[in-house]
């Protein structure tokens, strides 16, 4: 049973005639790690923004658990059902790492009793210690920010985790660690993980690898 279904979707940015995505159909299932690869400018971030409910496709439809995304409350979808690791992190830079995680939990309406403790533990898991967690995001390195983005994406226990270049700024060891966390989420907690990457190493962790080429999706392995 697929959790996310893309049905003949096409997309072009408003104000531009060029179709970035052309007639893509695909299914994503829980418990699997999907990796989408493609050249820069291929439309990888674009397809993720549609899947994450930040934007809607211009043609075709995307269904979440059988319901058209256009007809669901996409704010709620973003806060509860999906976790997004953005290519540009998109963290609140004036807030501390911890505050970012707690806020995300609050927005999702998380029932967690001790949100702070939960957030510290989560950050610990992605390799951010307490001292770093209490610093403003602004004063953290790119790699640290990326890991906070990962922690935030999974903080509210979503069904789907979307990652745009999740390991772009990380060294090999940390990359391995992060990918192991994502794989564990898929294989142990039955999440659906969709990651975009340039890295061949990352694609090793995938259950399915897809290539995005001039707006069309091709199955690689």
């Amino acid at each position: 049973m697929s959790i996310l279904t893309l049905k003949n979707i096409s997309y072009h940015y408003s104000g531009s005639k060029k179709r970035v995505l052309k007639n893509i159909s695909m299914e994503f299932e829980p418990g699997k790690v999907y990796v989408i690869m493609g050249k820069s400018g291929a439309g990888k971030s674009t397809i993720l923004s549609l899947v994450s409910g930040l934007d809607v496709c211009t043609e075709g439809k995307i269904e979440y658990a059988g319901t058209d995304m256009k007809s669901i409350d996409r704010d709620q979808y973003r806060s509860k059902n999906i976790g997004v690791i953005f290519q540009g992190y998109n963290l609140l830079t004036n807030a501390t790492a911890l505050e970012n995680i707690v806020l995300s939990m609050n927005i999702s309406g998380s029932k967690e009793k001790d949100k702070k403790k939960y957030a510290y533990d989560l950050l610990e898991r992605v390799g951010i210690d307490k001292e770093t967690a209490d610093r403003k995001v602004l004063k953290l390195s790119g790699g640290e920010q990326q890991r906070i983005g990962i922690a935030r994406a999974i903080s509210h226990n979503p069904d789907i985790i979307i990652a745009d270049e999740p390991t772009g700024n990380l060294d090999n060891d940390t990359e391995k660690n992060i990918m192991e966390i994502l794989c564990a989420l898929a294989h142990k907690e039955n999440k659906c993980v969709i990651a975009v990457t340039h890295s061949k190493d990352v694609s090793k962790y995938a259950d399915e690898v897809w290539g995005l080429n001039s707006g069309s999706m091709v199955f690689v392995k």
Partner: protein
């Protein structure tokens, strides 16, 4: 709840921007507080004076109308005056009946100066009028007795009908003492209507003589005044033929004037009379305060408009910074109205702090500000009085000696506080308006991509 907590944290996260906004809001609230406090205080004072002076009623003859055509003119009878006084619209009423009298067996002060000749007319038929007999419903007779300029020094106040009091000078001149009787007459030789009054008391008269005696008839000399009860005077036969009556009505509220006029008309007051309130007195006292209120209102409007423009500009500039923040929150799935509520909460907290500070400091500096303003206002009012009339002494006496207000006691009332709170709320809304509009208009994708 987390929205509010996040708002509190957010204020600290963007210190420099928020301090700038806070300073501007503080200045606006401070200026507004001072304005509103002075404004409401002066309004209160004007209201007090309105009820005090604006409600004293005058029924005067319309001489202009009388000059043109006096057909159908009828004076007001004593009964009518009394009837006019029977009204629910009145707070109080006082009557003063008086009649000018001739003498039988006594002389008036300054009689020898020959001034009484003016009134003697054809001396074959008329007797000279020498003194005034006055009866008031006021228990303290009049302001002179009230203030002690005149006071009884021998005997006592008249109590019974046909008792009277005379001045010390008058008593000495005629060798009169308490218990003696004096005879008053009309000015008609053929029908003198002689009446006898018993002196119950003698009063000392320290009233200042305004003019020199040369131009006075003896009955215009206050020391020749004979005071008796109102009943005594209106029951005199000579009052029926030659007496006059002054009535002083005070309305419960100056706003009742028109209703009272209608009532008087119904009770038969002729069109030859003008009913009015004591505006001269009222204006003199209240003008400086009104002047301040006017200046303050203009100041308030300028401050509010200017302040709002600055706040809108500032928050428009600040939105560039906030765009990204809003985008992130929206991308995390925060609802538009919650993001807006967050922005509004931030501004409300900042405004709340400014409100407390502004109100506190505003209250304490309102008094000195008001003092300076009222001083300037009195000067300008006095200047303009001098310029237009040139005879300020007469003005003074016209206004019944009422002193213009030279002090404005500032007090903080609920009305003022609630007005200031409303203004503060508006300021908070204005400063978060740009952000809120932005949130409702743009989608998170757009907000984020604009940055990247």
């Amino acid at each position: 709840m987390y929205i509010f907590r996040n708002a509190v944290k957010n204020i600290g996260r963007n210190k420099s921007r928020n301090i700038l906004i806070a300073v501007i809001i503080f200045v606006i609230i401070l200026a507004t507080s001072v304005s509103i406090i002075i404004n409401t205080t002066s309004k209160e004072i004007i209201d007090v004076y309105k009820t005090q002076f604006g409600s004293e009623l005058y029924i005067n003859l319309d001489y202009e109308k009388l000059k043109k055509d006096r057909t159908g003119f009828e004076g007001i009878t004593v009964d009518q005056y009394i009837a006019f006084g029977e009204s629910d619209l009145l707070k109080s009423k006082e009557y003063k009946a008086f009649v000018y009298v001739g003498s039988d067996g006594w002389i008036a002060i300054d009689e020898n100066s020959g001034n009484d000749i003016i009134n003697s007319g054809n001396s074959e038929d008329y007797l000279p009028l020498k003194a005034k007999v006055e009866g008031s419903t006021r228990s303290d007779i009049n302001d002179d007795f009230k203030s002690g300029v005149r006071k009884i020094v021998h005997g006592k106040m008249y109590e019974n009908i046909d008792e009277c009091i005379v001045s010390e000078e008058f008593a000495e001149l005629n060798n009169l003492s308490v218990g003696d009787k004096i005879k008053i007459t009309s000015n008609l030789k053929k029908n003198p209507m002689t009446h006898e009054l018993t002196i119950s008391g003698i009063f000392e008269d320290n009233t200042e003589v305004v003019n020199d005696h040369q131009n006075l008839s003896t009955y215009e000399n206050g020391s020749n005044d004979i005071f008796a009860s109102f009943e005594t005077v209106i029951n005199l036969q000579l009052y029926d033929s030659a007496g006059s009556l002054d009535a002083e009505y005070v309305l419960k509220d100056p706003a009742f004037l028109e209703n009272y006029k209608a009532e008087l008309k119904e009770k038969g007051l002729s069109d030859f009379y003008i009913v009015s309130t004591d505006e001269a007195s009222y204006n003199k006292i209240v003008k400086p305060v009104q002047g301040i209120a006017k200046i303050i209102n203009v100041f308030l409007i300028v401050v509010l408009i200017l302040g709002s423009v600055i706040l809108v500009l500032l928050s428009t500039l600040a939105i560039r910074e906030r765009k990204y923040e809003i985008g992130v929150l929206r991308a995390m799935g925060m609802k538009k109205r919650k993001v807006a509520l967050g922005l509004l909460s931030e501004m409300l907290i900042i405004t709340g702090i400014c409100l407390i500070a502004g109100l506190g400091i505003g209250t304490s500096i309102s008094q000195p500000v008001a003092d300076i303003m009222i001083k300037n206002q009195i000067e300008t009012v006095n200047d303009s009085n001098d310029n237009t009339n040139g005879i300020s002494i007469i003005n003074e006496s016209e206004s019944g000696g009422a002193e213009p207000l030279n002090e404005l006691k500032i007090s903080l009332n609920i009305e003022a506080v609630s007005q200031i709170i409303v203004v503060s709320l508006l300021l908070a809304v204005i400063s978060s308006l740009t952000g809120i509009l932005y949130i409702t208009k743009f989608e998170p994708m757009k907000i984020l991509s604009e940055r990247n």
